[in-house]
């Protein structure tokens, strides 16, 4: 039981971080960013290159991941999403753009970083073992703490800084924010960069544990969509809850349903569908997004 809880907390914290960036971008621009997973993978590869290959200290490598992705995100928003959103009759058209960017980043990742699974040396050795009730390697505990810390920092940023307030105003009502004097274009770009940066950060954190390969992008995006839906699209607290719930669902589902073998995931997905059908706005979301 303790083990399931520990697994849930660990999975939940990393999932929540992945979902945060996605939901931020969705809240600001109503864009379902299919390329989120690829951004996460790039973050992982940047940290891998700096820390694993060139021996740069881990924290610096993480910073490099964040910077790379923030710049990438800002450029993508400014030169692709912003003009497409302005020019399209139905805003869902951005989904095609997002998918195109996902393909593009996949191709770039393959050409630059190669097709192999990559991993970095452990940042801390050893396994925490509480009488076989909770077994958790120290590096996981550290990453989990770092993830929680980042989430707290992000919430702090959104709550207490000028940028955060502007972003929240923008997410709530674009027109109203504009009337209040928020520079909508600029903050859309900052928000997108921030969302991409979060993806890069979590990619860099997780490369120390799960490693990274170019195939992780698509599935990660889809998983992140699910978390966002569970919590409620475009709601920050929803993304965090969604991540934690999916983390626990997997931890508990696998622990309880493993004897059903092949259908464990089927059951998880079906229950997700039922949940969404009954409560489409998720836990915290506004109905009809």
């Amino acid at each position: 039981m303790e083990q399931i809880l520990a697994n849930g907390v660990y999975l939940g914290s990393q999932y929540a971080m992945i979902a945060l960036g996605l939901t931020l971008i969705f809240a600001l621009m109503n864009v379902l960013n299919f390329a989120h997973g690829q951004m996460y993978v790039i973050g992982g590869f940047v940290t891998y290159t700096f820390y694993g290959q060139w021996g740069v200290p881990f924290v610096l490598a993480l910073v490099m991941s964040c910077v790379t992705l923030a710049i990438l995100g800002a450029l993508i928003e400014k030169f692709l999403f912003a003009p497409v959103i302005k020019g399209s009759a139905r805003e869902e058209s951005t989904m095609l753009l997002a998918a195109g960017i996902a393909f593009f980043l996949d191709a770039v990742i393959l050409l630059v970083f190669g097709e192999k699974q990559r991993g970095v040396p452990k940042i801390v050795d050893g396994v925490f073992n509480w009488d076989f009730r909770i077994i958790m390697p120290y590096d996981r505990i550290l990453i989990c703490l770092l993830a929680i810390l980042s989430i707290v920092a992000f919430i702090g940023l959104m709550q207490y800084t000028k940028t955060g307030r502007a972003l929240r105003a923008l997410a709530q009502d674009r027109t109203a924010a504009q009337l209040m004097g928020v520079n909508v274009d600029r903050y859309s770009m900052i928000g997108f960069a921030l969302g991409a940066m979060l993806a890069g950060l979590v990619g860099g954190l997780l490369v120390t544990i799960t490693g990274v390969n170019l195939g992780m992008g698509g599935p990660t995006s889809i998983k992140a969509f699910m978390m966002v839906m569970i919590g409620g699209a475009g709601v920050i607290s929803g993304a965090i809850w969604g991540g934690i719930i999916l983390g626990f669902m997997e931890a508990i589902g696998l622990a309880l349903l493993y004897q059903y073998g092949d259908i464990t995931y089927l059951l998880i997905f079906v229950s997700l569908m039922i949940f969404l059908a009954i409560r489409p706005q998720g836990l915290m979301g506004k109905p009809w997004g």
């Binding site: 969705f26 379902l32 299919f34 692709l80 003009p83 497409v84 020019g87 399209s88 009759a89 139905r90 869902e92 058209s93 989904m95 095609l96 753009l97 998918a99 195109g100 960017i101 393909f103 593009f104 996949d106 191709a107 770039v108 393959l110 050409l111 698509g218 889809i222 969509f225 699910m226 839906m229 699209a233 092949d262 259908i263 995931y265 089927l266 997905f269 079906v270 997700l272 569908m273 969404l276 059908a277 009954i278 489409p280 706005q281 009809w288 997004g289």
Partner: protein, 326 residues
Amino acid sequence: MFGFSSKQLIGVGLFLFAIFIGVPLVIGATGRWDFYFTLTSVALLAIASAGVWLTFYIGRINIGQGAFALIGAYVSAILVVKAGWSFWISLPAAGLFAAVVAVLIGLPILRLRGVYFAMITLVLTQVVTLTALALPVTNGAKGISNIPLPSGISVFGIPILPDFAAMENTKLAFYYTACIIMILTYAALYRLVNSRLGHLCRSMQQNEELASSIGVNIAYIRIVIFAISSFFGGLGGAMFGSIAQSVYPSSFQVADSVNFMLNCFLGGLGYVFGPMLGTLVLYFGWDLLFEFGKYQMLIYSTILIVIIRFLPNGLLSIRFGKGGDK
């Protein structure tokens, strides 16, 4: 004739001529026999994409067509292999089965809109793939292989449809079959969009509350449209299973669902023939870029991004600035 202008009739005539006579002539002249399969695929994927486009028409983003294509492929395969049906009867049966499933699933989920509907259909694709892996009737992970080719049908001794297994080369036969089904699909789609049902769909796309206030049973129409959409998906999937002579849980997966949706976006959501063009460009484009080897994906995605950047309303928006619902 049928309320078409003469210009439209000429267009349709040219189109039919191109695909039934032009393409075989060009392929015969250039010797690019491999294009038959590519174009057959385009036709079949365009059928499934037509369904997705139709759900867009009632304002729903459908990322679940892969699920219905897979259902169609399995139903046809099971009926042919295990029950010994003729493929030609299993084909509509596959479509109908997909439609029935769509009704059952649509009842609870069609209330959702926007990204919520998109997400739940995406999850649906996963669910169907996993179900195919788990069920005994689908043969689980091993899939169904060695499906016989479509057999002939004759009524009172007069052959109506030829026996594919007896043919020297089935490429042309599959190409014509796929094209005929595609044309029927798009003809039906065109009729539907320009008939009262289409107008009601459009009213729902723009405002469901207002539509219901004028007495439109929106729940019913949503179900009908979703069922028709899935019927197309089932048809396309079943035909594919027959060409590949095998069906696996991975024959249609999330990537396919996403691609069906992208086909619609690329062609243009406002144009009935958008998904057809979108499918052609997306699928055939990949094939044409084959020469670029490992840079294929890079070039492909770059072109895609450039298209959507400069034609955000789809390829067809380039010619018909507005009023292109024809």
